[in-house]
Protein backbone atom coordinates (compact mmCIF):
# COMPACT_ATOMS: atom_id res chain seq x y z
CA UNK A 1 0.00 0.00 0.00
CA UNK A 2 1.45 3.27 -1.06
CA UNK A 3 1.82 6.14 1.40
CA UNK A 4 -0.49 8.25 -0.71
CA UNK A 5 -3.19 5.69 -0.27
CA UNK A 6 -2.64 5.42 3.46
CA UNK A 7 -3.12 9.16 3.79
CA UNK A 8 -6.13 9.00 1.51
CA UNK A 9 -7.74 6.17 3.45
CA UNK A 10 -7.35 7.89 6.80
CA UNK A 11 -8.66 11.16 5.44
CA UNK A 12 -11.64 9.43 3.88
CA UNK A 13 -12.40 7.52 7.05
CA UNK A 14 -12.24 10.63 9.15
CA UNK A 15 -14.37 12.67 6.75
CA UNK A 16 -16.96 9.99 6.56
CA UNK A 17 -17.16 9.71 10.35
CA UNK A 18 -17.81 13.44 10.54
CA UNK A 19 -20.27 13.59 7.70
CA UNK A 20 -22.36 10.55 8.59
CA UNK A 21 -23.08 11.77 12.09
CA UNK A 22 -26.15 9.64 12.67
CA UNK A 23 -24.27 6.51 11.72
CA UNK A 24 -21.16 7.43 13.68
CA UNK A 25 -23.03 8.26 16.87
CA UNK A 26 -25.05 5.09 16.60
CA UNK A 27 -22.02 2.88 16.10
CA UNK A 28 -19.86 4.51 18.76
CA UNK A 29 -22.58 4.37 21.37
CA UNK A 30 -23.37 0.75 20.55
CA UNK A 31 -19.73 -0.20 21.01
CA UNK A 32 -19.64 1.86 24.18
CA UNK A 33 -22.61 0.20 25.77
CA UNK A 34 -21.56 -3.29 24.80
CA UNK A 35 -18.05 -2.83 26.17
CA UNK A 36 -19.39 -1.19 29.32
CA UNK A 37 -21.68 -4.09 30.05
CA UNK A 38 -19.03 -6.62 29.15
CA UNK A 39 -16.49 -4.86 31.36
CA UNK A 40 -18.89 -4.69 34.25
CA UNK A 41 -19.69 -8.37 33.90
CA UNK A 42 -16.00 -9.27 33.82
CA UNK A 43 -15.34 -7.22 36.95
CA UNK A 44 -18.29 -8.84 38.70
CA UNK A 45 -17.12 -12.28 37.73
CA UNK A 46 -13.57 -11.54 38.82
CA UNK A 47 -14.79 -10.36 42.19
CA UNK A 48 -17.14 -13.27 42.61
CA UNK A 49 -14.18 -15.49 41.80
CA UNK A 50 -12.19 -13.76 44.50
CA UNK A 51 -14.91 -14.26 47.07
CA UNK A 52 -15.21 -17.90 46.19
CA UNK A 53 -11.47 -18.38 46.41
CA UNK A 54 -11.61 -16.82 49.84
CA UNK A 55 -14.44 -19.13 50.87
CA UNK A 56 -12.59 -22.14 49.57
CA UNK A 57 -9.32 -21.13 51.19
CA UNK A 58 -11.06 -21.13 54.58
CA UNK A 59 -11.53 -24.86 54.21
CA UNK A 60 -9.09 -26.67 56.46
CA UNK A 61 -8.93 -29.93 58.34
CA UNK A 62 -8.36 -30.61 62.02
CA UNK A 63 -6.49 -33.76 63.02
CA UNK A 64 -7.11 -34.86 66.62
CA UNK A 65 -4.29 -36.72 68.35
CA UNK A 66 -4.31 -39.65 70.72
CA UNK A 67 -3.92 -38.65 74.37
CA UNK A 68 -0.81 -40.59 75.28
CA UNK A 69 1.76 -39.07 72.98
CA UNK A 70 5.17 -37.68 73.84
CA UNK A 71 6.52 -34.38 72.64
CA UNK A 72 8.77 -36.06 70.10
CA UNK A 73 5.96 -38.25 68.79
CA UNK A 74 3.86 -35.17 68.25
CA UNK A 75 6.55 -33.38 66.31
CA UNK A 76 7.11 -36.55 64.30
CA UNK A 77 3.44 -36.52 63.32
CA UNK A 78 3.70 -32.83 62.41
CA UNK A 79 6.58 -33.63 60.12
CA UNK A 80 4.74 -36.52 58.52
CA UNK A 81 1.77 -34.29 57.79
CA UNK A 82 3.90 -31.48 56.36
CA UNK A 83 5.59 -33.92 54.04
CA UNK A 84 2.29 -34.94 52.48
CA UNK A 85 1.74 -33.83 48.93
CA UNK A 86 -0.21 -30.56 48.65
CA UNK A 87 -0.07 -29.55 52.31
CA UNK A 88 0.39 -25.82 52.75
CA UNK A 89 0.60 -25.33 56.49
CA UNK A 90 0.32 -27.30 59.69
CA UNK A 91 -0.47 -25.58 62.96
CA UNK A 92 -0.37 -27.21 66.37
CA UNK A 93 -3.31 -26.46 68.66
CA UNK A 94 -2.72 -27.60 72.23
CA UNK A 95 -5.52 -28.95 74.37
CA UNK A 96 -5.28 -25.82 76.48
CA UNK A 97 -5.85 -23.60 73.50
CA UNK A 98 -8.73 -25.81 72.42
CA UNK A 99 -10.32 -25.55 75.82
CA UNK A 100 -9.88 -21.80 75.89
CA UNK A 101 -11.68 -21.61 72.58
CA UNK A 102 -14.48 -23.81 73.77
CA UNK A 103 -14.79 -21.71 76.88
CA UNK A 104 -15.05 -18.58 74.86
CA UNK A 105 -18.23 -19.80 73.22
CA UNK A 106 -19.90 -21.26 76.31
CA UNK A 107 -18.37 -19.56 79.29
CA UNK A 108 -19.07 -16.54 81.40
CA UNK A 109 -17.26 -14.90 84.24
CA UNK A 110 -18.86 -16.65 87.16
CA UNK A 111 -18.92 -20.01 85.55
CA UNK A 112 -15.91 -21.35 83.68
CA UNK A 113 -15.42 -24.76 82.25
CA UNK A 114 -11.92 -25.30 83.53
CA UNK A 115 -12.76 -24.90 87.19
CA UNK A 116 -15.96 -26.88 86.78
CA UNK A 117 -14.18 -29.75 85.22
CA UNK A 118 -11.01 -29.69 87.21
CA UNK A 119 -9.13 -31.16 84.30
CA UNK A 120 -9.15 -30.69 80.53
CA UNK A 121 -10.94 -33.41 78.56
CA UNK A 122 -9.86 -32.19 75.09
CA UNK A 123 -7.13 -33.66 72.88
CA UNK A 124 -4.23 -31.93 71.15
CA UNK A 125 -4.83 -31.26 67.47
CA UNK A 126 -3.27 -30.03 64.23
CA UNK A 127 -4.96 -27.53 61.90
CA UNK A 128 -3.88 -28.40 58.37
CA UNK A 129 -4.34 -26.28 55.26
CA UNK A 130 -3.94 -27.52 51.69
CA UNK A 131 -2.32 -25.60 48.87
CA UNK A 132 -5.40 -26.33 46.80
CA UNK A 133 -8.55 -26.45 48.92
CA UNK A 134 -9.97 -29.06 46.57
CA UNK A 135 -7.33 -31.49 47.81
CA UNK A 136 -8.56 -31.30 51.39
CA UNK A 137 -10.68 -34.48 51.30
CA UNK A 138 -7.85 -36.47 49.69
CA UNK A 139 -5.23 -35.20 52.16
CA UNK A 140 -7.60 -35.70 55.08
CA UNK A 141 -7.87 -39.37 54.38
CA UNK A 142 -4.07 -39.68 54.29
CA UNK A 143 -3.69 -37.74 57.51
CA UNK A 144 -6.26 -39.99 59.13
CA UNK A 145 -4.04 -42.99 58.47
CA UNK A 146 -1.05 -41.58 60.31
CA UNK A 147 -0.31 -43.34 63.59
CA UNK A 148 -1.32 -41.21 66.56
CA UNK A 149 -4.10 -39.38 64.73
CA UNK A 150 -7.44 -40.76 65.80
CA UNK A 151 -9.78 -38.51 63.82
CA UNK A 152 -9.79 -35.89 61.06
CA UNK A 153 -12.54 -33.31 60.67
CA UNK A 154 -12.97 -30.95 57.73
CA UNK A 155 -16.69 -30.30 57.55
CA UNK A 156 -17.36 -33.45 55.53
CA UNK A 157 -20.48 -33.02 53.39
CA UNK A 158 -20.58 -29.25 53.66
CA UNK A 159 -17.26 -28.82 51.91
CA UNK A 160 -18.23 -30.97 48.96
CA UNK A 161 -21.36 -28.89 48.60
CA UNK A 162 -19.38 -25.67 48.76
CA UNK A 163 -17.16 -26.89 45.96
CA UNK A 164 -20.15 -27.90 43.88
CA UNK A 165 -21.60 -24.43 44.31
CA UNK A 166 -18.40 -22.62 43.44
CA UNK A 167 -17.96 -24.85 40.42
CA UNK A 168 -21.42 -23.98 39.14
CA UNK A 169 -21.08 -20.33 39.89
CA UNK A 170 -17.85 -20.28 37.91
CA UNK A 171 -19.35 -22.20 35.02
CA UNK A 172 -22.41 -20.01 34.83
CA UNK A 173 -20.52 -16.76 35.03
CA UNK A 174 -18.16 -18.00 32.34
CA UNK A 175 -21.14 -18.93 30.20
CA UNK A 176 -22.62 -15.51 30.83
CA UNK A 177 -19.41 -13.74 29.86
CA UNK A 178 -19.19 -15.82 26.70
CA UNK A 179 -22.81 -15.06 25.89
CA UNK A 180 -22.24 -11.38 26.53
CA UNK A 181 -19.19 -11.37 24.30
CA UNK A 182 -21.06 -13.09 21.51
CA UNK A 183 -23.90 -10.68 22.04
CA UNK A 184 -21.53 -7.73 21.87
CA UNK A 185 -19.96 -9.03 18.68
CA UNK A 186 -23.34 -9.56 17.17
CA UNK A 187 -24.82 -6.24 18.24
CA UNK A 188 -21.83 -4.29 17.05
CA UNK A 189 -21.77 -6.15 13.76
CA UNK A 190 -25.48 -5.48 13.34
CA UNK A 191 -25.12 -1.77 13.96
CA UNK A 192 -22.22 -1.55 11.57
CA UNK A 193 -24.14 -3.55 9.03
CA UNK A 194 -27.00 -1.07 9.23
CA UNK A 195 -24.58 1.83 8.95
CA UNK A 196 -23.05 0.27 5.87
CA UNK A 197 -26.47 -0.59 4.51
CA UNK A 198 -27.35 3.10 4.69
CA UNK A 199 -24.31 3.72 2.51
CA UNK A 200 -24.76 0.86 0.07
CA UNK A 201 -25.31 3.18 -2.89
CA UNK A 202 -22.03 4.84 -2.16
CA UNK A 203 -20.29 1.48 -2.31
CA UNK A 204 -22.17 0.54 -5.46
CA UNK A 205 -21.02 3.69 -7.19
CA UNK A 206 -17.44 3.22 -6.04
CA UNK A 207 -17.46 -0.16 -7.72
CA UNK A 208 -18.97 1.28 -10.90
CA UNK A 209 -16.23 3.87 -11.28
CA UNK A 210 -13.61 1.13 -10.96
CA UNK A 211 -12.64 0.95 -7.30
CA UNK A 212 -11.18 -2.39 -6.21
CA UNK A 213 -12.64 -4.15 -3.20
CA UNK A 214 -9.66 -3.25 -1.07
CA UNK A 215 -9.77 0.37 -2.07
CA UNK A 216 -13.30 0.49 -0.72
CA UNK A 217 -12.60 -1.65 2.31
CA UNK A 218 -9.69 0.25 3.80
CA UNK A 219 -11.50 3.45 4.72
CA UNK A 220 -14.34 1.40 6.15
CA UNK A 221 -11.91 -0.66 8.22
CA UNK A 222 -10.20 2.44 9.53
CA UNK A 223 -13.58 3.85 10.40
CA UNK A 224 -14.32 0.59 12.19
CA UNK A 225 -11.13 0.82 14.21
CA UNK A 226 -11.71 4.45 15.05
CA UNK A 227 -15.26 4.04 16.19
CA UNK A 228 -14.53 0.81 18.03
CA UNK A 229 -11.65 2.41 19.90
CA UNK A 230 -13.58 5.56 20.61
CA UNK A 231 -16.57 3.64 21.91
CA UNK A 232 -14.41 1.41 24.07
CA UNK A 233 -12.56 4.44 25.43
CA UNK A 234 -15.75 6.07 26.65
CA UNK A 235 -16.90 2.95 28.40
CA UNK A 236 -13.52 2.24 29.97
CA UNK A 237 -13.34 5.74 31.42
CA UNK A 238 -16.79 5.28 32.89
CA UNK A 239 -16.04 1.80 34.15
CA UNK A 240 -12.69 2.69 35.70
CA UNK A 241 -14.20 5.72 37.42
CA UNK A 242 -17.16 3.83 38.79
CA UNK A 243 -15.11 0.86 39.94
CA UNK A 244 -12.40 2.81 41.66
CA UNK A 245 -14.99 4.82 43.55
CA UNK A 246 -16.70 1.58 44.50
CA UNK A 247 -13.45 0.13 45.77
CA UNK A 248 -12.62 3.18 47.84
CA UNK A 249 -16.12 3.38 49.30
CA UNK A 250 -16.59 -0.22 50.11
CA UNK A 251 -13.34 -2.15 50.10
CA UNK A 252 -12.02 -0.67 53.30
CA UNK A 253 -15.25 -0.99 55.23
CA UNK A 254 -16.50 -4.47 54.66
CA UNK A 255 -13.48 -6.71 54.19
CA UNK A 256 -14.90 -8.10 50.97
CA UNK A 257 -11.91 -9.25 48.97
CA UNK A 258 -12.32 -6.88 45.97
CA UNK A 259 -10.04 -7.18 43.00
CA UNK A 260 -7.91 -4.09 43.28
CA UNK A 261 -4.59 -5.01 41.70
CA UNK A 262 -3.65 -2.09 39.46
CA UNK A 263 -1.92 -4.22 36.82
CA UNK A 264 -4.81 -6.67 36.58
CA UNK A 265 -7.33 -3.88 36.13
CA UNK A 266 -5.12 -2.14 33.61
CA UNK A 267 -4.81 -5.35 31.67
CA UNK A 268 -8.57 -5.69 31.68
CA UNK A 269 -9.02 -2.14 30.44
CA UNK A 270 -6.47 -2.60 27.71
CA UNK A 271 -8.14 -5.85 26.69
CA UNK A 272 -11.49 -4.08 26.48
CA UNK A 273 -9.97 -1.31 24.37
CA UNK A 274 -8.49 -3.86 22.02
CA UNK A 275 -11.81 -5.67 21.95
CA UNK A 276 -13.51 -2.45 20.85
CA UNK A 277 -11.09 -1.90 18.00
CA UNK A 278 -11.20 -5.52 16.90
CA UNK A 279 -14.98 -5.65 17.06
CA UNK A 280 -15.13 -2.50 14.96
CA UNK A 281 -13.04 -4.05 12.24
CA UNK A 282 -14.56 -7.50 12.40
CA UNK A 283 -18.05 -6.03 12.32
CA UNK A 284 -17.10 -4.03 9.29
CA UNK A 285 -15.52 -6.98 7.57
CA UNK A 286 -18.54 -9.22 8.04
CA UNK A 287 -20.95 -6.56 6.90
CA UNK A 288 -19.05 -5.11 4.01
CA UNK A 289 -18.57 -8.08 1.75
CA UNK A 290 -22.14 -8.54 0.69
CA UNK A 291 -22.28 -5.02 -0.65
CA UNK A 292 -19.09 -5.34 -2.65
CA UNK A 293 -20.37 -7.83 -5.16
CA UNK A 294 -21.15 -5.47 -8.02
Amino acid sequence: MRLRNVVYFWREAWKSLRRNKVLTIASVSTVSICILILGMAVLMTANAGNVMKKLESDVEMVAFLDRALTRSQISQIEEQISRLDGVKSVKFVSRDTALARLEKSYGNKEYDLKSTLGKNPLPHSFEVKAKNPHDVPRIASKVGKIEGVYKVNYGQGVVERLFAVTKWVRAISLAFIVLLSLGAIFLIATTIRLAIYARRKEIYLMKLVGATDWFIRWPFFIEGILLGTLGALFSILLLAGAYSSLVSNMGSVYFIPLVTGGPILNQLYIALLAAGAVLGVVGTYISLNRFLDV
Binding site: R4, L208, G210, A211
Partner: protein, 227 residues
Protein backbone atom coordinates in the same frame (compact mmCIF):
# COMPACT_ATOMS: atom_id res chain seq x y z
CA UNK B 1 -12.25 -2.13 -33.47
CA UNK B 2 -12.99 -0.91 -29.94
CA UNK B 3 -16.34 -2.51 -29.22
CA UNK B 4 -18.01 -5.60 -30.66
CA UNK B 5 -21.42 -6.96 -29.67
CA UNK B 6 -22.35 -10.35 -31.10
CA UNK B 7 -26.01 -11.38 -30.84
CA UNK B 8 -26.41 -9.93 -27.41
CA UNK B 9 -29.67 -10.44 -25.56
CA UNK B 10 -30.57 -9.31 -22.10
CA UNK B 11 -33.49 -10.74 -20.20
CA UNK B 12 -33.90 -9.34 -16.70
CA UNK B 13 -34.74 -11.67 -13.84
CA UNK B 14 -38.38 -10.59 -13.94
CA UNK B 15 -38.60 -11.83 -17.50
CA UNK B 16 -38.43 -8.49 -19.32
CA UNK B 17 -36.50 -8.79 -22.56
CA UNK B 18 -34.62 -5.50 -22.66
CA UNK B 19 -32.25 -6.36 -25.52
CA UNK B 20 -32.96 -8.76 -28.30
CA UNK B 21 -30.17 -10.11 -30.48
CA UNK B 22 -28.15 -6.91 -30.74
CA UNK B 23 -24.99 -6.96 -32.88
CA UNK B 24 -22.85 -3.89 -33.04
CA UNK B 25 -19.40 -2.66 -33.98
CA UNK B 26 -17.89 0.60 -32.80
CA UNK B 27 -14.57 1.89 -34.07
CA UNK B 28 -11.99 3.64 -32.00
CA UNK B 29 -12.61 7.40 -32.08
CA UNK B 30 -16.22 7.17 -33.20
CA UNK B 31 -19.06 9.40 -31.92
CA UNK B 32 -22.29 7.50 -31.62
CA UNK B 33 -25.84 8.45 -30.65
CA UNK B 34 -28.20 5.89 -29.16
CA UNK B 35 -31.81 6.81 -29.72
CA UNK B 36 -35.16 5.21 -29.23
CA UNK B 37 -38.34 5.58 -27.25
CA UNK B 38 -38.51 5.30 -23.49
CA UNK B 39 -37.91 1.69 -22.46
CA UNK B 40 -36.24 0.76 -25.76
CA UNK B 41 -33.16 -0.65 -24.03
CA UNK B 42 -30.64 2.20 -24.34
CA UNK B 43 -29.63 2.20 -20.70
CA UNK B 44 -29.50 -1.57 -20.63
CA UNK B 45 -27.16 -1.59 -23.60
CA UNK B 46 -24.97 0.97 -21.87
CA UNK B 47 -24.83 -1.03 -18.65
CA UNK B 48 -23.36 -3.96 -20.57
CA UNK B 49 -20.27 -1.96 -21.53
CA UNK B 50 -18.94 -1.76 -18.00
CA UNK B 51 -20.50 -4.92 -16.65
CA UNK B 52 -23.10 -3.33 -14.42
CA UNK B 53 -25.26 -5.96 -16.06
CA UNK B 54 -24.15 -9.18 -17.75
CA UNK B 55 -25.75 -10.23 -21.04
CA UNK B 56 -28.07 -13.23 -20.95
CA UNK B 57 -26.78 -14.40 -24.32
CA UNK B 58 -24.12 -13.29 -26.77
CA UNK B 59 -20.59 -12.00 -26.62
CA UNK B 60 -19.12 -8.57 -25.98
CA UNK B 61 -15.55 -7.55 -26.76
CA UNK B 62 -13.98 -4.29 -25.72
CA UNK B 63 -10.48 -3.72 -27.08
CA UNK B 64 -10.59 -7.37 -28.15
CA UNK B 65 -11.11 -8.66 -24.60
CA UNK B 66 -14.29 -10.55 -23.86
CA UNK B 67 -15.97 -8.80 -20.97
CA UNK B 68 -18.45 -11.62 -20.59
CA UNK B 69 -15.79 -14.12 -19.61
CA UNK B 70 -13.75 -11.53 -17.74
CA UNK B 71 -12.74 -12.43 -14.16
CA UNK B 72 -14.22 -10.47 -11.28
CA UNK B 73 -10.81 -9.10 -10.37
CA UNK B 74 -10.32 -7.61 -13.84
CA UNK B 75 -13.53 -5.62 -13.84
CA UNK B 76 -12.14 -2.56 -11.97
CA UNK B 77 -9.53 -2.07 -14.67
CA UNK B 78 -12.16 -2.17 -17.39
CA UNK B 79 -14.27 0.38 -15.57
CA UNK B 80 -11.40 2.76 -15.01
CA UNK B 81 -10.95 3.14 -18.73
CA UNK B 82 -14.56 4.05 -19.29
CA UNK B 83 -16.09 7.35 -18.25
CA UNK B 84 -19.78 7.04 -17.48
CA UNK B 85 -22.49 9.67 -17.15
CA UNK B 86 -25.39 7.97 -15.43
CA UNK B 87 -28.96 8.73 -16.32
CA UNK B 88 -29.73 9.21 -12.61
CA UNK B 89 -26.41 10.98 -11.95
CA UNK B 90 -25.39 8.71 -9.03
CA UNK B 91 -23.62 11.40 -7.06
CA UNK B 92 -22.48 10.71 -3.50
CA UNK B 93 -24.67 12.79 -1.27
CA UNK B 94 -22.14 13.44 1.43
CA UNK B 95 -19.38 14.56 -0.86
CA UNK B 96 -19.18 18.00 -2.38
CA UNK B 97 -19.20 18.54 -6.13
CA UNK B 98 -15.41 18.59 -6.34
CA UNK B 99 -15.05 15.63 -3.98
CA UNK B 100 -17.43 13.67 -6.17
CA UNK B 101 -15.20 14.34 -9.12
CA UNK B 102 -11.93 13.86 -7.24
CA UNK B 103 -13.20 10.55 -5.99
CA UNK B 104 -13.22 8.99 -9.44
CA UNK B 105 -9.60 10.06 -9.86
CA UNK B 106 -8.52 8.77 -6.45
CA UNK B 107 -9.85 5.37 -7.43
CA UNK B 108 -7.39 5.17 -10.30
CA UNK B 109 -4.56 6.34 -8.05
CA UNK B 110 -3.87 9.79 -9.42
CA UNK B 111 -1.73 12.00 -7.23
CA UNK B 112 -3.33 14.77 -5.16
CA UNK B 113 -1.84 17.66 -7.09
CA UNK B 114 -2.92 16.24 -10.42
CA UNK B 115 -6.38 15.66 -8.96
CA UNK B 116 -6.98 19.15 -7.64
CA UNK B 117 -5.79 20.63 -10.90
CA UNK B 118 -7.93 18.42 -13.08
CA UNK B 119 -10.99 18.84 -10.88
CA UNK B 120 -10.81 22.62 -11.21
CA UNK B 121 -10.41 22.15 -14.96
CA UNK B 122 -13.46 19.96 -15.52
CA UNK B 123 -15.60 22.03 -13.12
CA UNK B 124 -14.77 25.01 -15.31
CA UNK B 125 -15.50 23.03 -18.48
CA UNK B 126 -19.06 22.15 -17.44
CA UNK B 127 -19.73 25.65 -16.13
CA UNK B 128 -19.93 24.92 -12.43
CA UNK B 129 -17.37 27.38 -11.17
CA UNK B 130 -18.49 28.61 -7.76
CA UNK B 131 -20.34 25.37 -6.99
CA UNK B 132 -17.25 23.32 -6.14
CA UNK B 133 -18.08 23.03 -2.48
CA UNK B 134 -21.81 22.51 -2.77
CA UNK B 135 -23.23 19.12 -1.86
CA UNK B 136 -25.51 17.48 -4.43
CA UNK B 137 -28.54 18.34 -2.27
CA UNK B 138 -27.62 21.99 -2.69
CA UNK B 139 -27.44 21.87 -6.46
CA UNK B 140 -30.13 22.25 -9.09
CA UNK B 141 -31.02 19.26 -11.26
CA UNK B 142 -28.96 20.54 -14.16
CA UNK B 143 -26.03 21.34 -11.93
CA UNK B 144 -26.03 17.80 -10.55
CA UNK B 145 -26.12 16.44 -14.05
CA UNK B 146 -23.09 18.51 -14.96
CA UNK B 147 -21.20 17.24 -11.91
CA UNK B 148 -21.87 13.76 -13.28
CA UNK B 149 -20.52 14.80 -16.68
CA UNK B 150 -17.44 16.37 -15.13
CA UNK B 151 -16.75 13.21 -13.15
CA UNK B 152 -16.90 11.10 -16.30
CA UNK B 153 -14.46 13.42 -18.04
CA UNK B 154 -12.00 13.70 -15.18
CA UNK B 155 -9.92 10.61 -15.94
CA UNK B 156 -9.68 11.37 -19.70
CA UNK B 157 -11.21 7.97 -20.47
CA UNK B 158 -10.66 6.06 -23.68
CA UNK B 159 -14.38 5.50 -23.95
CA UNK B 160 -17.01 7.91 -22.70
CA UNK B 161 -20.57 6.70 -22.29
CA UNK B 162 -23.24 9.25 -21.49
CA UNK B 163 -26.78 8.16 -20.69
CA UNK B 164 -29.10 11.09 -21.37
CA UNK B 165 -26.58 13.72 -20.26
CA UNK B 166 -28.67 16.74 -21.20
CA UNK B 167 -32.08 15.70 -19.85
CA UNK B 168 -32.02 18.41 -17.21
CA UNK B 169 -30.20 21.09 -19.16
CA UNK B 170 -31.48 24.08 -21.11
CA UNK B 171 -30.65 24.25 -24.78
CA UNK B 172 -27.70 26.62 -24.40
CA UNK B 173 -26.02 24.58 -21.70
CA UNK B 174 -26.77 21.42 -23.70
CA UNK B 175 -24.98 22.85 -26.70
CA UNK B 176 -21.98 23.71 -24.59
CA UNK B 177 -21.88 20.17 -23.24
CA UNK B 178 -22.12 18.83 -26.80
CA UNK B 179 -19.19 21.01 -27.81
CA UNK B 180 -17.27 19.53 -24.92
CA UNK B 181 -18.04 16.00 -26.07
CA UNK B 182 -17.15 16.74 -29.68
CA UNK B 183 -13.92 18.27 -28.44
CA UNK B 184 -12.79 15.26 -26.44
CA UNK B 185 -13.93 13.07 -29.33
CA UNK B 186 -11.65 15.00 -31.66
CA UNK B 187 -8.84 14.39 -29.20
CA UNK B 188 -9.36 10.65 -29.58
CA UNK B 189 -11.98 9.55 -27.06
CA UNK B 190 -14.72 7.31 -28.35
CA UNK B 191 -18.10 8.72 -27.27
CA UNK B 192 -21.42 6.93 -26.97
CA UNK B 193 -24.41 9.01 -26.00
CA UNK B 194 -27.98 7.94 -25.36
CA UNK B 195 -30.34 10.83 -25.83
CA UNK B 196 -33.84 12.00 -26.65
CA UNK B 197 -32.71 15.45 -27.78
CA UNK B 198 -33.39 15.43 -31.51
CA UNK B 199 -32.16 18.97 -31.99
CA UNK B 200 -28.73 17.98 -30.76
CA UNK B 201 -28.57 14.82 -32.83
CA UNK B 202 -29.75 16.65 -35.91
CA UNK B 203 -27.09 19.32 -35.52
CA UNK B 204 -24.30 16.81 -34.87
CA UNK B 205 -24.52 14.73 -38.05
CA UNK B 206 -22.94 11.71 -36.39
CA UNK B 207 -23.70 8.03 -36.46
CA UNK B 208 -27.07 7.17 -34.88
CA UNK B 209 -28.26 3.78 -33.72
CA UNK B 210 -31.98 3.52 -33.22
CA UNK B 211 -33.33 1.00 -30.75
CA UNK B 212 -36.90 -0.11 -30.31
CA UNK B 213 -38.18 -2.83 -28.05
CA UNK B 214 -34.64 -4.03 -27.54
CA UNK B 215 -33.76 -4.39 -31.23
CA UNK B 216 -31.54 -2.26 -33.41
CA UNK B 217 -33.98 -0.96 -36.02
CA UNK B 218 -31.64 1.46 -37.75
CA UNK B 219 -27.94 2.23 -37.84
CA UNK B 220 -27.26 5.36 -39.80
CA UNK B 221 -23.76 6.80 -40.33
CA UNK B 222 -24.82 10.45 -40.16
CA UNK B 223 -28.26 10.29 -38.68
CA UNK B 224 -30.15 11.62 -41.68
CA UNK B 225 -32.86 9.09 -42.12
CA UNK B 226 -33.66 9.02 -38.44
CA UNK B 227 -34.37 12.54 -37.35
Amino acid sequence: MLVQFYNVSKIYSNGVKALDDVSLKIERGEFLFLMGPSGAGKSTLIKLFFREEAPTRGQIFIASRSIVRMKRSEVPRLRRNIGIVFQDFKLLENKTASENIAFAMEVVGANPKEISQRVAEVIEMVGLKGKENSFPGELSGGEQQRVGIARALANRPLLLIADEPTGNLDIDTSREIMELLFDINRKGTTVIMATHARELVKAARKRVILLDKGRVIADNPNGESIV
